[in-house]
Symmetry: C2
Subunit: 470 residues, 2 copies
């Protein structure tokens, strides 16, 4: 690295060291608010959490701060324009609500009374997601201090929602409603993690999600399996046969048209995946599963990050109580979810799944299919200039080679990508041991500060990148 | 028919006409006792029903009458030896407990206050099974009156259980305990029906039943379908694939060895089935099903009466509530029942099913199989001399050609066949419209009396048959 870079790095570090204690005090205050969006009792706390953040952001320098109500929990919007009219606008996404947590669930201490031990901050929300939202406030101040600016090098917007842990039911509508005010050239999602403490990574995409429930109706009521068994179609058998037909012998999804448009991994992407220090035994322990199984010709990482899937989330029909009941059930039900990758269109998936199901249903069985609203996949190509900015900013903070991951899950980031038409980048410093959604959630303080440090370097790099973009 | 037969027929009819009113009064008294074995509140009524019958049988002439206690509801045993030491012994089986019934279920009147309307006796238990037990008391008295005997031509035993509507949980043990006292040359089961009022039939067999529950264990807990979907085995998929593999493309059970020993229908049996006035549309309405489906190469009647089956009675796993939950479930469950036909051994079925299931289970899924106690199939060949006696006795009562049916269900009759080593014959006069287990159960009075008339002719015929047996 050249001399100017080094001096910027040390200026940022100096700022962070000086403000670390106050930053952690503020974060602890926020973490004390039990903003559990899934529990109606905590609705006032979720609002208090939004108001706390809205009260804090002007201190950072945001010039506009608003609490946006939704039919559910409120979100926080903030804006801080750049002084440079040519600068790009960046929208940071995160959430201020948290998963439920209680001492009785196995927490070693009150999950809403933050504790620092061995350089780790323990509290519900420390990593998911208050800590990762809040490091940006420290990061942008360090950016100003290190560059002598009075406003960030990019136009900065924040959208911190309050219902992510409840499935973001009103997020899409909120984004559509405020699309103009949220307009941005790129979106930074800070709600993911890295490979590990030793292997800093940038996530480049999330899978999409299409979900449906299929109900199979057979006889008008449960009927006697002695009197009628062997002579009429059984809806539970029809449901099972559909599920069995969902994958072919290579564990590929057998629905015709399902893979239409799928963006295949390039050889170099597969190579990058393969370079990660992946331990399948360890992964299976995390999965609490007793074997790996999936699409032939792909590794486990490729299967969870870059391949579309079909999974049964639930199946039911007939008698499920103790003992036996000799019936042919009147109906059966299957819940399926499809994880989608870049290039797959949820509307097309719904169309081909409906056609395929209809074709499978045997005579005498009536079928109803209901699709839930889908989430689109998002993927930023490895050579995207904004992604390269994130990689450079992380590289300066971590002083290590930055590798790439993806996320197998699905999230509201895709709504931002779709409604705002902006590429989505992921900047997260959490590690798998942080215990998202589990008892004793924590964040590594060194990594949290590296997050702030990355943030401090990112805004200038993005502005520079935009200046040189074609 | 020759003159002596005619005179016997008219003597029996004269007796029945004279005693019809008293018989119906007695039966009504018994029907007023709500002997619902499935409802603990009615346990005293089930006992009262047993005691009522035990009090009534000595009036008929039975010389020994006992109430046999079980760990559940009591049974009634009665005996009336023949004066001829060479005469065969016949055991009549029926049950005195009834299905639940209440006006709120859609009964037009109190189901435990018998009503005669349009020559039909309406009451819970009128057909299933008090009426069909009780016609034997009138029949055996008519037999004595018509023949001038003081004791029946055969040694007569009755075993009338009190838990049939609750699955006969203690019946097998009761029969084993009293096997010596129950010893008989043949068993008459009066707990089935005929084809229709216009088509009198004899049932020649019931299917057996083997039942199992199979549990599939995958991940140690439900896991996230985004993080792990597509890369680990899903136990709900394993359960569905097992069910899908249960039948081949001809709807035959695909478990190797399942058909071992099956007694195939002869051409003449198939012809006899085909001669019955079967209306498949009507049958589908009764089944409340919207299509017929079953083993290729067999008619619907053959499928339900004479072919073994595999049916899913229940399937379950994962999330079955409203909406969706993006999990790979930790476990799934399937309940299967197999109807068995003559020649199939439940122990062999359990063995081949266990072997087959074990072979189907994919890596990473653990499987547990639990079998319930099985019921054996029973079948009396059409040329069996005792069956011919039943056919002749019915023929004299009905003055019509007697045809043959089978019963697709399974019952404790098989225990009698197995423990006592005696052939089982079925004598029932109930018709499909009688509404077993449904609101407004009834019995046709003319048919009930034909049952008594058949009983009156049967004992002499059986004694005669045994005299000429090799």
């Amino acid at each position: 690295m050249s001399q100017p870079v080094d001096s910027a790095v040390s200026a940022v570090r100096t700022y962070l060291a000086q403000h670390r204690a106050a930053f952690l005090d503020d974060l602890a205050e926020w973490l004390r608010i039990p903003s559990v969006s899934a529990q109606p009792d905590h609705a006032p706390d979720v609002r208090r959490s939004a108001e706390w953040l809205a009260g804090k952001l002007p201190e950072t320098g945001f010039t506009t701060v608003e609490v946006w109500d939704t039919p559910g929990a409120p979100a926080v919007f903030a804006e801080w324009p750049s002084t440079d009219p040519e600068a790009p606008t960046v929208l940071v996404y995160g959430h201020h609500d948290v998963q439920p947590a209680a001492r009785e669930d196995g927490c070693d201490s009150d999950p809403f009374e933050p504790v620092v031990q061995e350089n780790r901050l323990h509290a519900r929300g420390a990593a998911d997601d208050k800590g990762q939202v809040f490091f940006h406030t420290l990061g942008v101040r360090a950016h100003l201090a290190a560059t002598g600016r009075t406003a960030p090098a990019v136009g900065l917007k924040l959208l911190i929602e309050g219902e992510e842990e409840s499935g973001s039911p009103h997020f899409r509508a909120l984004v559509e409603q405020h699309a103009q005010r949220l307009a941005a050239d790129t979106v930074i999602v800070s709600d993911t993690g890295m490979w590990s403490e030793d292997t800093p990574t940038v996530c480049t995409g999330m899978r999409g999600l299409a979900e449906c429930e299929i109900r199979f109706h057979g006889p008008d009521q449960d009927i006697h399996s002695g009197s009628f068994g062997g002579a009429v179609p059984n809806p539970a058998t029809a449901a099972a046969r559909l599920v069995a037909a969902l994958h072919d012998e290579h564990a590929r999804v057998a629905v015709p048209g399902f893979y239409d448009g799928v963006v295949e991994l390039t050889d170099s992407e597969r190579k990058l995946f393969a370079e990660l220090p992946f331990d399948e035994e360890q992964w299976l322990r995390t999965a609490k599963s007793h074997a790996a199984h999936g699409e032939a010709g792909h590794t486990t990482l490729e299967r969870v990050w870059a391949r579309p899937t079909a999974e049964v989330n639930g199946i039911g029909g007939g008698y499920q109580g103790p003992g036996s009941k000799t019936i042919i059930p009147s109906s059966a039900m299957v819940k399926l979810s499809f994880r989608l990758v870049a290039g797959q269109d949820p509307d097309h998936i719904e169309k081909v799944v409906r056609a395929w199901v209809t074709e499978q249903v045997p005579a005498g069985i009536r079928c109803e299919i209901t699709f839930a609203p889908a989430t689109r996949p998002c993927l930023t190509p490895l050579d995207h200039p904004a992604l390269q900015s994130v990689v450079r900013a992380m590289g300066r903070a971590f002083e290590q080679k930055i590798r790439f991951t993806r996320e197998g899950g699905s999230g509201p980031a895709a709504d931002l990508q779709e409604v705002l038409g902006a590429p989505v980048l992921f900047l997260g410093i959490s590690v798998p041991s942080d215990g998202w959604h589990a008892p004793n959630e924590k964040v590594e303080l060194d990594l949290l500060l590296k997050g702030a440090e990355t943030s401090a370097h990112l805004w200038g790099d993005l502005a520079e990148t935009w200046r040189h973009a074609p």
